[in-house]
Symmetry: C2
Subunit: 542 residues, 2 copies
């Protein structure tokens, strides 16, 4: 027998139209280059997004054409999220923090046909224009300046378009809507193309109560760039639930974020650990007697902060919790849309000690629905016993099964169709994933593994340490040994012996202690804020 | 270009396996016929459900075969929800409140091959066994009595099965998992068949923060029968989020529900308005001096109560709110999985008056994501202006597009593929749907429409009125006029003139007042607890 249910494609256009009808009065706030705030309503968003779709079709956009964006987080970028697919195109978010060479190479690999770019980023465009010929460059007058005559003016295109007469490009639910390139800390960046189906499913799953817990009364501040795995998919969730959005624009300095939090207090924010580390440091410094920022900021008590993109040290979670802000850690990759696991308070652990609560919160969390997750060892699947460590492999409708125009690589996908994440972890009996390392960051000392992440977290809990990154250096006897690169807090310092004593107290064995310490000014970071250990390895080959 | 996302079917089996792994220690509590509580864990649920799948295959179940259930709300019924589809079968929930003739007819129409039945319902089975020949009758020993030898014993089948060796039947995401028949207040009941896809999508959407807002720390008490639109789909949501379930079994008397709430206080419950009306009456009576139930019950403050299946009078919402219990109204049908709209507090209405808050809460609510909804008048689609009234039509991936083995009826589906709900409503600028009537329940008086639902709600707000149902009677001059059937509260009464004065105060026009009152002992109800106006129309043809 057959199901009697209707057929029909999952579609971003449905979410767009729903928001335009039901949430027409709700606000989308963007911080402009001059730091003033621009307010739009979902009604305007709906009209402008359809106008963008109409304008793109008038410019000759064909089904499946890539339209790149090179933009900060703001309302017009959100319009691209929905307007480009509405016209049948594929939005390709370019990462403005990469070098011009890399951006140009990526635009070429994706065969981007059009480009939407913030006027304030035109200097960057000029550095890469010779590397890839965009057929049409549409400039969003973010700063309010006149758009140079050689480019199309985003606002002029919208003003000339006919949003009411626009009809959505017909599509299948498996048609692509957006593209994002992996950050490529190793090897070449590779393209991942999300579909209507994968995006709608990811949005539904991630928005659920125990994960993002999105409600219409939320005020969401996405600090995570919209070119970084689609700001983790949050823009789609926000539109689905009609939440007020507060976009920080180009102003990501901790002082600026704290200022914005005073103007538009968020209930939910998202960003990488670096952002929150700097933010709490700036806030704490302002509490010191005589600080020029004394009394300038309050932290938004009760806010939830979604943190991902790199492991979150327990000390950071504790620091925010003291201010009534709960950090919810997630783990995922560009390849996974990105939400794979989220750490949330479980019913089974009610009544647990604070230490236990923080310990769980510092884990990657529990696989969300529709994500199959397994731990793979040398001899197959490993049990979820909190001890067995192997590579995390995932599968599901919002996980990539290939890369854009790259032959299937057995180093990336298993024969039975799972994505090899390259992250090494154990999973416990409650489904909590504990990432111990990237495969390539594990330290193999005398046949035993040492987790660089564990060492880093323990070091960062020392009162004098601001940041710590641990890499492997070759060793004749043990094959590899840990080298710890440590950044002191301002005005603080300690002796290696103190750090070792601290680590021994944190239940490290003597053989697991760093072989050597290097004291550095800052840990090099990738464009997405992750520790760039490749650079450290180059600096300290032995 | 193509999306790079993995293919793969949405599947209930994924939710089942996830719950078995991640939530293995969480509880499922069932009230047995002797009123004792039986506790299962999700781990046992997972093992037993797979055992059921294995046992059904051993009995010869083939792909697509219907397995009927005739059961109260309890853990074994939940096992059928997942175990029957796991084996490739289609669970068909039979409504034990229908007459044996109707049940027999429905089982025949669905060609049910096997039956799972509670031992306490065997007397009902004996009344219908001659109407449809089930190939195998599996008796669940709910009361603990020995299963008669002519039937298969559910527990014995499970004990003999091999859950570890069981493999799920291969399936497409559009394959059916469950069947439910419309309540058929008019005409013959018709079968709706849900698929893996429709069920997973409905579960994701309904569980979102502003709707069910399911979290793992919730304790959910489904009073809505599991044979009534799958208990609105809540069992699927509960398994997805790992929430503790408290099943009332056969004990639905208000005293029993209140007792159960003392033993296992829920944070979320669901049922039709009738249940909550009786419950609040029983609770209020217990507060009277000298009541035999004095001090027996506390209401679970902070609980949310999902109410649907019939319009919720504002007076009921106010009555529960006084006790710190918030009633969240939803609207839908068997045909719509069933959640189509839910009324929830909107950000736009923060700071509104209590009166306005209650007025909104008494509406059907806002269309949920993935549901397209339109108001259709004689000349096409009507605006969402809070005034224009027409038939509600819906479309989406968890809406039925046909009925099981029934030719497509233009009275039920539009030419462009929307379901005609038969409900008449307006929608306002915030998307709030206000059902004014069933198409057939509207009263057309002198060319103007009178809403029987509005009259009923206003009458039920009168202090002496327990229940009121309004029907149309033919009238020579006005074509139709309203007749109000009123049930007094115990010991209370009033004059028709008082009721009319009350209605005039509630902003009814004089011509909208009931033409006549009938004072009756109880409003006849359908098996699903709705006012059965057909019976009243038979009783009062003029």
């Amino acid at each position: 027998m057959k199901s009697t249910m209707m057929e029909g494609a999952l579609s971003l256009n449905h979410l767009l139209d729903r928001a335009g009808r039901i949430f027409a009065g709700n606000e989308i706030v963007s911080r402009l280059p001059d730091k003033s705030l621009r307010r739009h309503t979902y009604g305007e968003f709906h009209r402008r997004t359809r106008a963008l779709g109409s304008a793109l079709q008038k410019l000759g956009l064909r089904k499946g054409d890539r339209v790149a964006t090179l933009c900060w987080n703001h309302h017009a970028h959100l319009e691209c999220y929905f307007g480009i697919p509405a016209a049948g195109g594929v939005m390709h978010t370019l990462n403005l923090r990469l070098s011009p060479d890399e951006i140009g190479w990526i635009a070429g690999d994706a065969s981007d046909r059009f480009l939407v770019i913030d006027d304030v980023l035109l200097p960057l465009y000029k550095q890469l224009a010779h590397l890839h010929a965009f057929e049409k460059v549409i400039v969003f007058p973010f700063s309010g300046s006149a758009v140079p005559a050689e480019f199309a003016d985003y606002e002029a295109l919208l003003a000339a378009a006919d949003p009411a007469g626009f009809t959505y490009a017909p599509h299948d639910e498996n048609d692509p809507v957006a593209m994002c390139y992996t950050s490529g800390t190793t090897g070449r960046p590779k393209g991942v193309a999300y579909s209507h189906r994968s995006t709608v499913l990811h949005t539904l799953v991630a928005s659920l109560g125990d994960f993002w817990g999105l409600r219409g009364t939320d005020v969401v501040m996405p600090v995570t760039p919209m070119f970084h795995a689609n700001s983790w998919g949050m823009p789609y969730g926000a539109v689905m639930m009609g939440v007020k959005l507060v976009f920080p624009g180009p102003h990501l300095h901790p002082d600026d974020l704290l200022d914005l939090m005073q103007l538009e207090p968020p209930t939910l924010s998202l960003g990488v650990p670096t952002i929150w580390m700097s933010l709490i440091q700036a806030f704490d410094a302002a509490q010191q007697p005589g600080s020029p920022n004394a009394g300038r900021w309050k932290l938004p008590r009760g806010m939830r902060s979604l943190v991902g993109g790199a492991a979150v040290p327990e000390s950071l979670i504790r620091a925010f919790d003291r201010h009534g802000i709960w950090i919810e850690q997630g783990w995922g990759m560009t390849e996974t849309s990105p939400v794979c696991t989220i750490s949330y308070p479980r019913a089974e652990l009610q009544g647990e000690s604070d230490d236990e609560k923080y310990r769980r919160a510092a884990m990657a969390g529990v696989p969300v629905p529709l994500v199959d997750l397994r731990v793979w060892g040398d001899e197959g699947e490993l049990p979820w016993d909190g001890k067995s460590v192997g590579e995390i492999q995932v599968r599901g409708p919002f996980i990539t099964g290939s890369y854009h125009e790259v032959p299937l690589d057995p180093g990336k996908f298993t024969e039975d169709g799972w994505l090899r994440t390259g992250d090494v972890a154990s999973v416990d009996n409650l489904g909590f994933v504990r990432i111990t390392d990237r495969t390539k960051d594990l330290i193999k000392s005398g046949g035993e593994w040492i987790s660089s992440v564990d060492l880093e977290n323990a070091l960062m809990a020392h009162p004098a340490v601001a940041e710590a990154a641990v890499i492997a250096i070759p060793d004749e006897k043990w094959s590899e040994r840990p080298l710890a690169c440590v950044v002191w807090k301002k005005g603080a310092a300690a002796q290696p012996a103190d750090l070792n004593a601290h680590l021994l107290k944190h239940s490290f064995a003597k053989w697991q202690l760093p072989e050597r310490y290097e004291f550095i000014d800052a840990v090099p970071r990738t464009s997405t804020g992750k520790f760039w250990k490749l650079k450290l390895r180059e600096r300290y080959p032995r």
